[in-house]
């Protein structure tokens, strides 16, 4: 049955290749891989914008008042707008589309061995809405009053009334863009979840699913479950902004703190929404290049589920000092510190995976390993903030900023690079240059630590976030502190410059790279069974069947050190 259908697909495909124009093939395609690329490249384009914003405001902090090259003088309102939109873009338009949408679209159907997502047209619609949201956001920078500048958390009443935020058009447009983006990811998320639940290849049981697919699916569920109240809140806030209702106006009996709860009920699970896919990507890469079976597959999976559930009970730790009842802090500190347990289990299992391996230091593996090291810094610094006692002091300082950049940078940037270096051969059929990859790696990682390590000290010394010029604060204007700011800014510029080798490597390898072949890394999962790049329909030689788990490296019963999932064998080892 499956065979017949596949033959049809490949036949159809050949038939269509002649007729497909550029538009129908790359713009309005329903092919999951093309949609994945669309998300990937849109995400990278938005990352360039977000990175440019970071460059502008870091230059302003290091050299306050002077004209920033390629921008000009940074006014206070421009600074607020840059900071706000840097945060929004990096989370909603970079981390989410690249890690969940691009990787989910590209990997899920290939890894579970089917020909496309279950709803290809819904998938296309999801990307189109996402693109629209990005356009609305970018347009909001150019309307009268400028882009929204009330921080990515958009606390009312500042975000609700133009007389407070001075961006009568920027604020509603920002909110509409975020709402559209949420709709796009709800559509995409339902598609991912349904695909992974229903469309698995024959023989693929629960524990034969590669961990990255699990992670993306669990992340989509977390997103769906957490974002609903925010959608309701966004409607309410939009009415406040545009129509003049008083949902969040205290003088009319509303409560601005309600928005904080609605936002953070989403905002905290959102961290795990982007974390999990990155963890999954790292797991794939580590297993392949350490030639090791993932240590405690089920343990990691259960820890992930536990993490997901716990993440719904911690949201108010973002609000310890923001006027919520202080008694609530007891509960939320407890749950917050408990969340260190599943995260620690996952990280320990990852580190244990390295034990007894045969580690190849390819660029992808270097990025994966650096993810673990950097994320560990981000993770442990969270304890100071999750503990309500120290959070009184550290809240909204640069300590927080450095902490979440040590989590989000590994997630969004290192995770993305890991994925691109690892799956590039599958995506485009050619290998990337390893030497340039390593130059890119060391430049990025060292410069990254150069940016954010100093910020921990600035934060611990009491420097608050979102302030455009520290010269106004005598305690913060000292030369020692200014030196640290300059150091961070220079590191940022160096890090941005080190992205140029990556871009050149990426583009040159498209044409000049070594041909990859089906399985250049000798990996086990199903995407390596398909040709590189996979054609429309993915598996022209017939849909694969699955006989074992995804990480059977160095199995004692086998000569080769890898054992593809689709290769028939006389036993089904492990993972019963």
């Amino acid at each position: 049955m499956a065979e017949v259908a596949t033959a049809d697909v490949s036949h159809d495909d050949h038939h269509h290749e002649h007729e497909q124009t550029f538009w129908s093939k790359y713009v309005f395609s329903t092919d999951h891989k093309i949609i994945g690329f669309q998300y990937l490249f849109t995400g990278i384009a938005m990352a360039i914008i977000g990175g440019y914003f970071a460059y502008v405001f870091r230059m302003q902090l290091a050299f306050p008042g002077s004209s920033v090259p390629f921008f000009g003088i940074v006014s206070p309102s421009a600074y607020n707008s840059l900071v706000t939109n840097h945060g929004t873009i990096m989370i909603f338009w970079v981390a989410m589309p690249v890690l969940i949408a691009a990787m989910g679209n590209f990997l899920i159907p290939l890894m579970i061995g089917c020909d496309d997502m279950v709803f290809p047209r819904v998938n296309r619609l999801s990307y189109q809405i996402f693109l629209l949201s990005a356009i609305v956001l970018i347009a909001s920078f150019f309307v009268p009053g400028g882009g929204f500048g009330g921080a990515w958390t958009a606390y009312p009443p500042l975000s609700a009334l133009a007389k407070y935020n001075a961006t009568p058009f920027g604020a509603p447009m920002w909110l509409i863009a975020v709402a559209l983006e949420i709709v796009a990811f709800l559509l995409g998320g339902i598609n991912f979840i349904t695909t992974a639940m229903n469309a698995r290849a024959k023989g693929m049981r629960m524990y034969d699913i590669p961990i990255v697919v699990w992670m993306i699916v669990i992340a989509s569920m977390l997103f769906m479950a957490s974002v609903g109240p925010l959608v309701a809140g966004a409607v309410m806030l939009l009415f406040d902004q545009t129509l003049g209702t008083t949902f969040f106006d205290a003088s009319a009996g509303g409560d601005p703190v309600l928005w904080q709860h609605l936002f953070w009920f989403f905002g905290h699970p959102e961290v795990y929404v982007v974390l999990l896919p990155a963890m999954g990507i790292v797991a794939e890469v580590m297993c392949t290049f350490a030639r090791k079976k993932l240590f405690g597959y089920k343990l990691i999976l259960y820890a992930t589920v536990g993490l997901g559930i716990l993440s719904f009970f911690v949201w108010a730790h973002h609000q310890f000092i923001s006027g919520v009842d202080p008694r609530a802090a007891y509960l939320f500190t407890t749950t917050t510190l408990l969340i260190s347990i599943p995260v620690a289990i996952m990280l320990f299992a990852y580190i244990a995976t390295l034990y007894g391996g045969s580690i190849q230091f390819t660029t992808a593996m270097l990025f994966a390993l650096s993810f673990l090291a950097e994320f560990l810094i981000g993770g442990v610094t969270g304890i100071w903030l999750g503990s309500s006692g120290t959070d009184i002091y550290l809240h909204d300082t640069y300590f927080v900023l450095a902490h979440f950049h040590y989590t989000f940078f590994p997630i969004a940037i290192i995770g993305t690079f890991t994925a691109i270096y690892y799956w590039y051969p599958k995506m485009f059929g050619r290998m990337m240059n390893e030497t340039w990859g390593k130059i890119h790696f060391w430049g990025t990682i060292i410069a990254f630590n150069g940016i954010f390590l100093p910020l921990f000290f600035l934060g611990a010394a009491g420097q608050h976030r979102r302030i455009y010029n520290y010269q106004n604060f005598p305690d913060l204007a000292g030369d020692n502190m200014q030196d640290l700011r300059v150091f961070a800014t220079i590191s940022l510029v160096i890090m941005l410059l080190f992205q140029i080798p990556f871009v050149i490597n990426f583009i040159v390898s498209l044409k000049r790279g070594k041909k990859a072949g089906k399985n250049p890394w000798k990996a086990n999962t199903l995407e390596w069974v398909a040709p590189s790049p996979p054609p429309h329909g993915n598996f022209p030689d017939g849909m694969p069947e699955v006989y074992r788990g995804p990480y059977e490296f160095a199995h004692p019963d086998r000569e080769d050190d890898y054992w593809p999932q689709n290769e028939p064998g006389n036993q089904k080892p492990a993972n019963k």
Partner: protein, 129 residues
């Protein structure tokens, strides 16, 4: 078999209608007997919300076929509901109170409602809530 299911749907529908009428009658009866305060609550809460839950259960179980659906579906929906309950109780201490530990809201309830002709119940209900 087929006819049976149709009959079942009809039975459920009739039951729903009866429940619906009872739920509307609850507050009317309370008004007629002039019930106030606790006794009014005791009547309205079960007739309005108790019956709403029963109706929702009947629609979900029989019309949406959740009773015969694979176990995934009811779990998905129950987890969703449970998380909303978590949200409600996590937020309650702040939003559903006019004062807490070391804070208070100076906001005063308007004494007169926007529709003045129905303003007579006000005092007693302030206490109930």
């Amino acid at each position: 078999m087929a006819g049976n299911s149709l009959k079942k749907y009809n039975r459920i529908y009739v039951a729903l209608l009866i429940l619906f009428i009872v739920s509307v009658l609850g507050p009317e009866i309370a008004d007629i007997f002039g019930m106030e305060g606790l006794s009014r609550m005791a009547l309205i809460l079960p007739t309005a919300f108790g019956i709403a839950i029963v109706k929702a259960y009947m629609v979900a179980a029989h019309f949406m076929h959740l009773k015969t659906e694979k176990i995934y579906a009811p779990y998905i929906l129950l987890v969703s509901l449970a998380l909303m309950v978590v949200f409600f109780f996590g937020v309650k201490i702040d939003i559903m109170a006019s004062e807490g530990h070391n804070w208070e809201k100076p906001y005063k309830e308007p004494t007169e409602s926007s529709a003045s002709h129905h303003g007579d119940h006000s005092e007693s209900h302030d206490d109930d809530h």
